[in-house]
């Protein structure tokens, strides 16, 4: 166990050093991360204002709060591993990772977390600025906020496992952009990024509850906003853990057969 701890520590150090070299790229990436929720925030606050201050159980201020917190939760659970793997497999740089005595997912997790350590203050700043501009209404529910912390961690793990599995598609297919885009579209609607899930028709809400997307973003987000009952919260945690288990099995299976299928190109 201490071996793994040392590994993470060392990986954090190298990742941090590498990230700090590309500060400008980090800022530009942050702008992109802020803009998308900002667009939907504007659209829904305008809709709510035209409909007399409230739509589908959300007031104008609650919409603002929803999309600002969405931005933060999305940032905390975000990964870019699919792009990374397409490159690794196509350029053969995965060969080096395979030579190391530890599973490559550890360095990927460490890499992701360290980049967020650097970018999170910027994200908080952006959230604060949006808070001043759009006057969100928060309902502070202490137990729900406390429960949201493990929910975010589980959401991060779930999203990481799922997207890491999806990234392994690069082993069999060299052009994965169409697959990734389909995934992003499903993510956009079913994780609550276009609109709060309760605004969708019943059958879409049903699909969203079954598929993993809701549990990667919408669940911790609704918890933070104090919109869930204790029972719903317990159900949510159970579903998250169930999906993490399934995703973990999927990931292991894909990784084992994928490595066998992998034919290094160049490198």
């Amino acid at each position: 166990m201490s071996g793994l701890f040392d590994l993470y520590l060392q990986q954090f150090r190298t990742s941090l050093a590498a990230m700090l070299q590309y500060r400008a790229a980090l800022v530009i990436w942050l702008i992109g991360q802020v803009l998308e929720p900002l667009i939907y925030l504007v659209v829904w606050t305008v809709v709510s204002a035209t409909q007399g201050g409230s739509v589908g159980g959300f007031t104008t201020g609650e919409f603002a709060a929803y999309f600002i917190v969405l931005m933060l939760v999305n940032h905390m659970t975000y990964t870019w591993i699919m792009y990374e793997y397409e490159y690794r497999v196509r350029h053969g740089s995965l060969s080096f990772a395979l030579l190391r005595p530890v599973h490559p997912i550890h360095s990927d997790i460490a890499d992701n977390v360290s980049s967020k350590v650097i970018s999170f203050p910027g994200m908080l700043l952006a959230a604060g600025a949006l808070g001043l501009l759009f006057r969100p209404t928060f309902h502070f529910v202490p137990w729900a906020v406390a429960a949201a912390l493990p929910a975010v961690v589980l959401a991060f793990l779930l999203r990481f496992f799922i997207e890491w599995s999806l990234a392994l598609a690069a082993f069999w297919i060299t052009r994965v952009s169409a697959i990734n885009q389909s995934y992003f579209v499903a993510m956009l609607f079913l994780s609550g990024q276009v609109a709060p899930l309760t605004l969708f028709p019943g059958w879409i809400q049903m699909i969203a509850a079954i598929l993993p997307f809701r549990w990667m973003i919408a669940f911790p987000l609704e918890l933070l906003l104090g919109r869930l009952t204790p029972i719903e919260t317990m159900e949510g945690f159970a579903t998250q853990i169930l999906w993490i288990g399934l995703a973990w099995i999927l990931m292991r299976t894909l990784w084992r057969s994928g490595v066998r299928a992998y034919a290094a190109v160049g490198g």
Binding site: A24, A25, I28, I31, G32, L35, E36, L38, I39, V42, V43, W44, V46, V47, T50, Q51, V55, G56, L133, R175, S177, A178, Q181, S182, V185, L188, F189, V194, A195, L199, F200
Partner: protein
Amino acid sequence: MTILRLFWIYLRVGVMTELAYRANFFIRVFQSLLELGTALAGLAVVFAYTDTLGGWRPDEIVALLGVYFLVGGVIGVVIQPSMEAFIESVREGTLDFTLIKPEDSQLLASIQAVDLWGFIDVILGSVVLIIALVRLGERVDGMQAATFGGMLLAGIGIVYAFWLILATSAFWFVRVENILVIFQSMYEAGRWPISLYPGWLRYGLTFLVPVAFATTVPAEALTGRLNSATLLGSLGLAAALLLASRAFWRTGIRHYSGASA
């Protein structure tokens, strides 16, 4: 006419390279359709809760979406790939080869790479636009069509000049491709009427990154919302930016000393 002749040559080269990868066609059509479907589904969710958005009716927003795809397609066919190739050539020093050709260097740099599949978005955008106009029952007379064409050209001119100015700064800063990424995320905002956004953002999307002139203004011309101040402003800005980018390009070329090709 030189422009058309040269563009035709580069387009043929683009076609020949891409035809080697025919499966790409289906992937790109799929991706464009997916993007369009996503946008329409997003509109469906919004309009389930309201009849108008910032004074725009659903079909009018769909028309705007058509313009968004159309202009995005034009950017994707030639402006973006050429500007990226140009920035790359400054870093690698291969710009030298462009400079020794006996045609205008700005023209050559601006059309040097053509991405054939970008036309998919141009076609899709036009289809969406026509369907939206038919559904609106809008009688587009000659005058309105001409204004729309003019505003579309002005918008594309503004976007081109904006990209050229950013790309030209590569002569001094070398690594500028990141700035271009900002434009792409800002362009997303052009899918919705610019009047929706709060003042500071509207200002940014009009003057800082001129997305408004590329999408909202041409759509306004078609839906009868365009006032003469915006019309003149768009034409004036297009002329000013095109001249400014030209002057900036000349300064940049003088500054360029080659990076050993």
